[in-house]
Symmetry: none
Amino acid sequence: MADQSQRGSDVFVHPQALAESSRIGDGTRIWAFAHVLPGASIGRDCNICDHVFIENDVTIGERVTVKCGVQLWDGLRVADDVFIGPNATFSNDKYPRSKQHDRPIEQTRLDAGCSIGAGAVVLPGITVGARALVGAGAVVTQDVPARAIVSGNPARIVGYVDTKRQPAVPVPRPVTAGEVAPTSVRGVSIHRLPLVEDLRGRLTAGEFVDQIPFAPLRYFLVFEVPGKDVRGEHAHRSCHQFLVCVRGSVAVVVDDGQTSEEIVLDRPDAGLYVPPLVWAVQYRYTADAMLLVFASDHYDPSDYIRDYAEFQEALKKKT
Amino acid sequence: MADQSQRGSDVFVHPQALAESSRIGDGTRIWAFAHVLPGASIGRDCNICDHVFIENDVTIGERVTVKCGVQLWDGLRVADDVFIGPNATFSNDKYPRSKQHDRPIEQTRLDAGCSIGAGAVVLPGITVGARALVGAGAVVTQDVPARAIVSGNPARIVGYVDTKRQPAVPVPRPVTAGEVAPTSVRGVSIHRLPLVEDLRGRLTAGEFVDQIPFAPLRYFLVFEVPGKDVRGEHAHRSCHQFLVCVRGSVAVVVDDGQTSEEIVLDRPDAGLYVPPLVWAVQYRYTADAMLLVFASDHYDPSDYIRDYAEFQEALKKKT
Amino acid sequence: MADQSQRGSDVFVHPQALAESSRIGDGTRIWAFAHVLPGASIGRDCNICDHVFIENDVTIGERVTVKCGVQLWDGLRVADDVFIGPNATFSNDKYPRSKQHDRPIEQTRLDAGCSIGAGAVVLPGITVGARALVGAGAVVTQDVPARAIVSGNPARIVGYVDTKRQPAVPVPRPVTAGEVAPTSVRGVSIHRLPLVEDLRGRLTAGEFVDQIPFAPLRYFLVFEVPGKDVRGEHAHRSCHQFLVCVRGSVAVVVDDGQTSEEIVLDRPDAGLYVPPLVWAVQYRYTADAMLLVFASDHYDPSDYIRDYAEFQEALKKKT
Amino acid sequence: MADQSQRGSDVFVHPQALAESSRIGDGTRIWAFAHVLPGASIGRDCNICDHVFIENDVTIGERVTVKCGVQLWDGLRVADDVFIGPNATFSNDKYPRSKQHDRPIEQTRLDAGCSIGAGAVVLPGITVGARALVGAGAVVTQDVPARAIVSGNPARIVGYVDTKRQPAVPVPRPVTAGEVAPTSVRGVSIHRLPLVEDLRGRLTAGEFVDQIPFAPLRYFLVFEVPGKDVRGEHAHRSCHQFLVCVRGSVAVVVDDGQTSEEIVLDRPDAGLYVPPLVWAVQYRYTADAMLLVFASDHYDPSDYIRDYAEFQEALKKKT
Amino acid sequence: MADQSQRGSDVFVHPQALAESSRIGDGTRIWAFAHVLPGASIGRDCNICDHVFIENDVTIGERVTVKCGVQLWDGLRVADDVFIGPNATFSNDKYPRSKQHDRPIEQTRLDAGCSIGAGAVVLPGITVGARALVGAGAVVTQDVPARAIVSGNPARIVGYVDTKRQPAVPVPRPVTAGEVAPTSVRGVSIHRLPLVEDLRGRLTAGEFVDQIPFAPLRYFLVFEVPGKDVRGEHAHRSCHQFLVCVRGSVAVVVDDGQTSEEIVLDRPDAGLYVPPLVWAVQYRYTADAMLLVFASDHYDPSDYIRDYAEFQEALKKKT
Amino acid sequence: MADQSQRGSDVFVHPQALAESSRIGDGTRIWAFAHVLPGASIGRDCNICDHVFIENDVTIGERVTVKCGVQLWDGLRVADDVFIGPNATFSNDKYPRSKQHDRPIEQTRLDAGCSIGAGAVVLPGITVGARALVGAGAVVTQDVPARAIVSGNPARIVGYVDTKRQPAVPVPRPVTAGEVAPTSVRGVSIHRLPLVEDLRGRLTAGEFVDQIPFAPLRYFLVFEVPGKDVRGEHAHRSCHQFLVCVRGSVAVVVDDGQTSEEIVLDRPDAGLYVPPLVWAVQYRYTADAMLLVFASDHYDPSDYIRDYAEFQEALKKKT
């Protein structure tokens, strides 16, 4: 047994458990047949259930639950408040071969407050974002963005936590002069554009500055996106955008740091205005979806905020 | 260790097992590294294998097998003769978060004689029906009807146990006057209806009482059924039905309590006569399936038997 | 010139015309460069315009107009009040070869009050029904039913004369208990049937006698009708019918002898009730159309009235 | 025979012709078996061939050719330089019935320099525009725009006279920075836009002013245009446009008054720049075509020149 | 009137006809209001009906029938035994403009024994092949091959005269070793090739020399053929071919000079062997048709016989 | 504890492990809470991790790794160098029922050097081939071929180990005379064939011996292969092949024993030449794929080498 000098004062270790590490926080409990190797570090108030195995190069934050039958391998970094369901399975080698340890192990990161469902499998090198939810039995083969909900094999995003879902742009009647409806997210608005139809076809139009609140310096079209893919996942510092799904449909999640809302764009006479400093994600593209985007600025990589924490910082600075 | 006064006389507990409950039936064996909490109740002649963990609020019937690596959580109710394969995984919280126990736990019910395949995952709040079979690796997200076989992620019904499968209504040649073929299920018959075709199209017709053995007081059409869904799953006390799949195809399982048979309806000139007191299930609807049903009675909710056990009771009373 | 003893007293023949027949009715005018052979028979008050040619075995009724550039060949039978537009063209041999006259000529019949558009071509052996309208430039390769409007090459039915067109069954909102709307045709009504939908699919049902005004002794399904084809075109003496288009769409023309209306059936929760002694035609079947018909009587060929004139007779007798 | 006082001095009338009108211009020839009624007016240097019939309320301009077997009915207005092919057929009543003359006759207008092909049929009330070409055997059911070529039954536009056809935007290789190619029409250019593709799909972008020679104040999308239809047919006084066919394909005819060219747009990374005072027509849309247009100005009806003659005037003023 | 010295001795000219040519053959009749210009040449035993107009540069063979209302323009060459139906219309200028005669006239050729249906329109520059049949109302825009039957606007081939039609390769049962069936055409055989299918798919194979009676030196694939197009129309002097329609279907007409048969190829396990000196035509391609052809020789243009008459010559030489 | 006489001299057994078998090879380590039953046989240098359970009728080769949470059931045969990831799950009864052991257990075979990913489920009776890789979370329902990589539920082949992937035949420009490009696999070459297109469609041709390096004695077509299926998996001793994918696409893996490459065939004018003694596999067929293969020899079963080890032997003999 390891030197127990760093162990918290009221750590509980079941008589049938093997707790070889000295770095175990106060209030943490380790149950029967669990086995913690000497190098592991476990924070306060954790719950390590029966039949769990924890290797050496593993760091576990505070208030983490590890249910029965789970192994945490070298390279795993578990932040605070993470939940790991029973028999959830990790690994640290994408192409494992017996007795071949020449490749460096791949780190897996479980960010603060995320949950891994029962029996889920997480591939090596994955990051599961803050507060994300991995469904039971999901097989995670790609990084899971913060707050995303994933399920299936392979796992796909099926929603976002704490996000109001608006089924689709409501379209009560034809609009001839354009109309603007606010959303619950600061600055984001849904624009109905005029739609003219006659025997020769249909036409929809948008006037810049009048109906679309900026003059574009750039447009782009996104298309042939596999249904499983997610695009966007960033905010802009100063660029305004206006999104129109000219064919098929796509779901857009917009988030001002306080409120989050999901809007389905599914008709060419509806647009979504996204001002700077709003986080936006596009997903659930249909096979035929074609998304037209107007941008107020020329392309500038430095205008993109691609990290959600950085986005939250930028919001604070602004106010 | 718990008070052992209620324990059966010949319970076997491996020296490396922890069996803290006193309610363990005669003939039950508990193997190495298994851990049974004090509140659990286990019936006779069960087999609890290595590395199993059983929480307190768990009830297990008789002759149950729990293979290695399984955890049975609070809220699980396991009936007699259930088989739970190795590393099968349960849970009792749909949106688990570490250290948040404010939501009530969700019960999971495994009915008599069902089997859960190796490595299967069963979501919270699910009922797996009597004698149902959950395939290895299946992720069960919906209730599984009695006797159904499910597999995949998410799990879908792929068959019914002990049910003879008739690939499709045999169609050896055009029929002009109608023909009737019995099935192996009491009273159920397959009816070939006349089909006339010429350059202007095709026409199929049925004469009531002559070709279809009752006069209808009602018809209904079922359509746009998602392929994963199951309809029917009931018997009628006195109503006769006649089913014609006018487009696409659908599989119908009919069951007289003794014999069960699956018939694929896939052409508009074939009908299935289902008399009262026959249990019927429709599933494997193709996307375009359209099922036309004639009923001998007006709609009457009290005529439906929707519980299989109740159906078996009704059969007994009748004889 | 022929013997003129049967000629009407005030027949006008232009000095530059050749009118060799003696059977020309009172009030008929024959204009410049027209040529009527001796065997032709022309009724009263006809107008035979410039450059027309009329062969011997041709019979023309009263008040017929034959515009310029038309030839009427042996075998043509033109009833009263027919209009033949300029350069309309007939023939009497399907596989004409020069100097080969071994096949019998094929008769063409233009029934009372029909019109042949400018430049139309009518193939040999065709009957154009009473009051039918052949559009300009149409190439008629099949019989044209009474009152039908045809156009195109080959000509297809595009409507019926004097028939009010109701675009489709109006569907303002879901209906739970059924609803009945009258039409402008005596006794014919449009029935909205209850439609129930949930996640497992959709179901529409009809109760006989309550929602559908008779008890069926027969049903039939019509499907795979080529879009160009017309079905029905008959009335029943005593059978009631109820039509539901369970898939695709079909246009039904109903006619009580006084009023005619066209109703498009295009949804499974809408039915059309057709009582006895209403003439009905179905056409404009979409490729996927599937028409379900309930009949109050068993099949009886003697119940069908397939001739419109006979239908008009039957109506008179009844009143 | 009519009073011949208004007849030109060297009118030729064949001995077998009937020329009853006195208003026939100098140099006009009227051939055998033709028949001109007294009210008709025929200009100079016309050629009226054998077996032609001309009613009273008909006006014919100068240098018109009417080939054999044609009738010109009351209400026809034939401008200068028109060619009418043999057996071409007109009419002046959409729903002709024998002896029913209660509806007013419908006028048909053949504008200057147009040609009507052999055996073509022109429905009542049609205008055939200046220099248009109606193909042999065409059945014209809609107005024919100036300079359009139509054929078929019903007739559809298949091209424009004197217009160079460029098969499609040539695409020799991927382009990363954009490229511009001139056309034969003044100021019109074809722009290749960068196309980026990766695992998540494809993206094409255009930088305004740099790659597209103006900053847009307006965009519009045109879609679901039936293949038979034509859009555009106008020039702008001051508005610049940039057309991108983001899906399917469309043919664009551009015309600077001197030169005319047809360009097929069929890919999302190719655009067409159309400056002011260029006449543009779009047609031959595929079923799935979706045309995105950027405009340099806000919508202003007074900026549109919709009449080709007015367009020619505007060009003259400018130079 | 023209010099009549070359006129046949028993030519009949109706008193109201204008027959200005002296070259009119014995036994030919010219009827009322017909007009033949001086330069025309007409053979023996022809029948020129009322209201026909024949220009100068026209040559007509023997036993030709020209029904009423037809004009034959300069440039028309009509061979023996041709039938021209009433109001059939020809022209000799594709882009006619009034008073513009700068383009040379285009010749139209009607080969021996062909028939032009009533009201058909034949565009300038067309050749209608020997014994071909142009249906009533057809608008002929392309050459019509010998013996083809065409109809519609534009006219498409719908069959071949005197050709036995075999609906499709008969497929009574799976074949494992291959089978050969003769046709009614000399040397041509239908080969059923082995088809093996299992859960992994289907496989069909052909052994050269054993099952296919030659060793190929070349293969080619024909695909994306518009449905309206005809391919083949030639015979080979020494090359053997073997045709397999691997997708979709195509009709092949084979002809040994004596017998003609049409075979529909519509499955990948059926091939058609065509030996040298058999005339073959492929048409009625479905949109997805893909025709695989094996050839016994390398490509050699001199091996092709593309003229049916030359083909008949080659057959004679051989015997 | 079992008789330890057959145990290797330096076997390590953790104090908390239960190692009841005496047949455990030198250098093998057995970790905490693992349980090995007396009948099991384990080779040298194996690593049996925590919480593993090994039944009696199990044979394990040398250098095998069994990660935590795995059970190896009666009937499992594990060859040398196999890796079994954490929580991977096996079973030996397809239709398990509690307490019913009447059916014989089904053997599962893991061949030399294969790896089973974390959390994978392997159904009873499966063989996983040598060096194959079963992805994390895969549910294996069919045998896995040697060297194949599988993933998903149910598991499908997604690649082959150590195989260079060439995205598709590069097509820089049209080719008129044919072109040949080598691959990294000995003797295998990619052939571009001439493609000719005109208004009537497209044609591609190949000259044997000139463009394709042998004269075929056989051809076959492979089609309607379900996308999940694999074909080929063999080498020929003396037969040459030439593969053309005439529609859709297919991936071909070719392997000369030293080098392995995957080539996607996706156009009818590209072919792949495969000489004798090259191992070839075809998979990833699109739904519409149709593969045409030419073979230099007649069908001869003895020419096929269907076992990879035998293929390797044949290569050695040759050199």
